[in-house]
Each structure stands twice: as C-alpha cells, then as structure tokens.
Symmetry: C2
Subunit: 322 residues, 2 copies
C-alpha cells in the first residue's frame, strides 16, 4: 500500500467541516476563517517510547493525540476548527491503521474538528504531530499573561489522575478495579475543556491548560504575567479514585504529574462566583487552589501554612527533561 | 538544557511577522488572516535516514525543510505567512541547534514567513514537521483540479537537478566541480516559486509543485482534473550541469527524480504567451512540455513520437514506496 492509497483509504473521510474550501488531496488545504475571528494554532508531537508505550492500542493513541492537541485550543479559549496530521509510521499496517483512523474520525467528530491535511512518511519509530487550528473572537484569545495580584487561581476537574492511569499501565495490577480503569481513561482520553474555557473567557484574566504539571504550567503563567502565587495543597482537587488507589503519591502527582489537560485560570475575585456557577451549569468541577500575589515565585503551602520545600526539585527536574 | 530553555535560546527570534498577534510562548499562536484572504495550510515531515542523510549539515537541513514546505504554498499560489515547527531531537546539542536555528531564521526571513510556534520533543531519530500557512485571495487558490483538454503543460526551472545533487552526495566524486556543487545546492536549497506562482495565477487553470517527480505529480493533476496528457521528452528543461554530469540518467531523473520543487501548470493556449513573458520578467525559465487531452492517462513520447513504455513501472514503483 503506497502513501496515496493509504491516505485515500484511511484519512480521506473527515475533510468536510466549517470553513473548509479544499480539504485533503491538494498541495494545501484552503480554509476560511470567519470574519471577526482570529486563528489560534498549536502543534503537538507524540513520539513512541517517549510519550507513549509501544503497546498502546491505536484507538487510544488517536484519542490521546487529539485530546492533548485540542486542549491547547481550550487554553486559548478557541473553538476547534481544523486538524492537520503528520504521521511517521514504521510500516503501512492495516491492523494498526484501521482502528487508529476510525478512532481519529470519531474523536474529531466529537471535538468538532475537521481533518484537512497531513503528511504520511516512513520511519522506524511512530511519531505523530497534530496541528490544531481554532477560531477565537478578535482580541479574546485567553493568554498566559494578564494574571494580576489578588486574582484567585482556579483549576478545572481533578489533578493527578492521568499520571495515576499511566502508573497503572506501567505497573499493571492483577485485577484492575473500576477506579483503575477510570484513571486509565483519564490518561488515554483527555477531555479538552473547550466549552468551559469559552464560557469563562470573559471573566478570566489569564489561563492555560495543565500539560506539564500544575507547578510547571502555573509557573509559566506567573512568568508571563510577572507575578507570583501561593497555592494551598489542602485545596487541590483530587478524585476519589486517585486518593483511594494511590494515596501516597496523590499529592505529588496532582502537583507535577502532568497531562491532566485541565484548565488553570487566574480570575479576579469579583468574578469567581460567576465562574463557579458557569462551571456548575456544565457539570464541571472548578476549584480555587490559591491566589496570585506580587511576590515573585510559586509557593506551595500545606494545611498548617508551611511551605513545602522539596517540590522545587521535582519542578526543576522536569524542566531539565526536554 | 531543558525544552523551554532550548526554545528560548534558539527559536524565539522570529515571532514578529504580519498578522502575528501572539507568537511563540503561549499555548497557541494567535494569528490574523487579512480580510478577503483565505488560509492555505500544508504540513511536511522529514525523517532522518529516510528523507535526508544523517550527515546533512544542519543549516542545509533547515533550508531544505523550509524550501520544500513553502513550495506547497507556491503550488497554491499563496503568500507565505506563518510557520510552526515540530522538532524531534535525539539530544539538545548546541553544536547542531545553533547552525540549524540560524539558518532557519535566515531562510524564514528570505521566504517572508514567521516562526510562530512549535513543539520540541526527544526521540532517537531526528524528525522535523514544518507546517506552513499562507494567504491567498478568496477563491484564487491554485488547485490540482481544473486542467482542461487543449491546455499546455508548462514547468518552471529545470528538472532532475535535485536528484543529481543527491546522487553526488550518495556517491561523492573526488573533486566536485562547480556544476556538481550547483546540483547539490539545487538539492539542499530549493527555491519555492512563490513570486512566479502568484504572477501566473490569474492565467492558469491548474497547478502543483513537483515534489514526487514530474510523472507522479502531473498524474495527480490529471486525476484531480479528470483529463490526460501527452508529454514530449525532447521538450523537458534540463540544466547544462545535469546533462553534462549525468548524461545517462538525466532524462529519467527529470521525469521521476522528485524534489525539484518547480511548478507544473496547465495553461490555456491563449494565455501561454502571457505566462512566458511574466516568467521572463522574473528571470525564471518556463517551458512547454506537452498538452492536456481528454484521453485519460499520461503518455510520454520521445523525439520520434514513440511512447516510452518502461516509464510506467518507475512511476508505479514510486507509488508503492510510502
């Protein structure tokens, strides 16, 4: 099976979508951004053996790839529109391609994003680069900069589940419980917070999605905004499954586990109630975990108000890993 | 050196550009397509050991990557605007990154394209995915479909040089002549035909860039347009360097060598003279090599008008290689 046949057979399904003038099959996709909207663009790469295990089911890989990429659009409060996919494959194996392409189509449909182009190449390791394009009202993109002293720090959902799900895959338990399976789904199928981000956008000063871990990502927001923050560990939203299955690691993973793909937002005090109400209407948990200050740096305090010192190392260690 | 440091040090130079509201450093780049313009998007991947030799100088790799990607914008007659780059690296080696990033910046400036975002990941092989974004007047994107029986087939520049340049790198000659070095530059530093494509666009029915080889790419145009074509080998534009250094392979490489990144256009007879004049004004060779017909298929005829039969195999063979 050649490249063109492969594309035709597996990936030429989803080219229809809003603003798609020419989809897959020409040198370029030709696209129309609606009037009054800006374009938000992000590219994410997953490398076999680095970002995912070789044994990952192809359908789960598709969900993970698209979920993680679309989450960057949520971080900008943009509406998903178009996807391009660069796929480097060891071989054109229908046993792999068929479930991958089917899940990709399902996931794209669920996220409201149309596959409009890509490139398929051969390589000895599986490498996937997903570039997502979304629309956001002019001047309304949610950015990392803009957090102000006094803002509350809010996070959506629960933190650390994805890292726990990965742990249970790396060190399988003999009889996975429903809780373990739920944690694995949190790892495999991140749910980008598009609807929440777009509803909260008018009330929020700054925001991003948590991909590298709360401490790393919140630090990015603080750096971009030129502020600091105090975080209270007692407020971190933990799922029952995480707390129950991995009680000893739960806090650490919530702080720096990464790949939660939840939102972290800086919200002025006066807008916090509105944000909490909007989240509740969507059935999404939204939790205050701390406050922006004018003292540079990120401090994490325990229930007695003592600053946790050992955390900086974990954070630096992450920064060192490319 | 961590990922963030790497990006800051090497790739945070070129975010300024037309329509760039937010460049590198946030979850998404935020971009503004000018009113009345459509967005043309293409993604290209280069894999170490498949698309380039491991020994390729990093600067040449940057030029090749961007030249090949921007050529897809030329194929759509779009003006280059923005680039995102997904880079998978075995290690964060300044000896490699420094010349690569410098050449990338130079090349982007020459092509008028701004690096607005990317993703840097670790992997055991070098993999680069460049996504290019351009603008084209609404409804004016040059497409593969639209060629009509009676149209002349025109190609820009000369064909086969890039393949010859590669050959001279795979099987080095002891004392490379100026001609050999010129062929290698044709391989390393493709010159996307943006200016030519945009000038010719109003006069052209269909077009694409020659990346897979003339026969393969012209066949794509014929398939998309539902037509056929007759090509005359005697008309193929060969450089003096190619004809002199590789006389026995010149014709074959011109037909199916690939990576020429020249334009192949279907032009109505009445507009051919205008197109030739426009090309001449730009100092770019433009050559008629055959004609679109209503007989399906692509026929290649020699100087005596005999159809060359063996070529189909070469073409099929290429199609089979993913």
């Amino acid at each position: 099976m050649g490249e063109f046949e492969l594309i035709r057979r597996y990936f030429d399904h989803a080219a229809a979508g809003a603003g798609v003038i020419e989809g897959i099959g020409d040198d370029c996709a030709v696209l129309q951004v609606p009037a009054g909207q800006e374009l938000a663009v992000s590219i994410d790469t997953l490398v076999e053996g680095i970002h995912f295990l070789s044994e990952i089911p192809p359908a789960e890989l598709a969900w993970r790839l698209i979920g993680a990429a679309v989450s960057d659009l949520a971080a900008a409060a943009a509406q998903p529109a178009w996807l391009t996919l660069a796929l480097t494959l060891p071989k054109a194996d229908p046993e792999w391609l068929e479930p991958f392409a089917r899940a990709l189509a399902e996931c794209c449909e669920q996220q409201g994003i149309a596959l409009v182009g890509g490139d398929t190449t051969r390589g000895d390791r599986l490498v996937l680069s997903a570039q997502v394009h979304g629309w956001v009202e002019a001047g309304q993109a949610l950015l990392r900069k803009g957090a102000q002293p006094g803002d509350r720090v809010l996070v959506s959902g629960t933190l650390g589940d994805s890292r726990a799900g990965l742990e249970s895959l790396l060190h399988p338990v003999s009889a996975p419980t429903q809780e373990i399976r739920w944690l694995q789904q949190r790892f495999y199928r991140p749910e980008p917070r598009i609807t929440l981000a777009r509803a909260l956008r008018p009330h929020v000063h700054a925001g991003l999605d948590i991909s590298d871990g709360l401490l790393a990502d919140l630090s990015h927001m603080l750096d971009a905004s030129g502020v600091g923050a105090d975080i209270e560990t007692c407020c971190l939203p933990l799922s029952g499954a995480l707390a129950h299955c991995y009680p000893d690691q739960a806090l650490n993973w919530a702080l720096s586990g990464g790949e939660d793909f939840e939102l972290c937002l800086a919200v002025p005090e006066a807008a916090v109630t509105t944000c909490l109400q909007l989240a509740e209407q969507q059935g999404v948990r939204l939790t205050g975990i701390g406050r922006i200050t004018d003292v540079p740096g990120l401090r994490v305090n325990d229930a007695e108000g003592r600053e946790l010192a050992g955390l900086a190392q974990g954070y630096d260690h992450f920064k060192e890993s490319p």
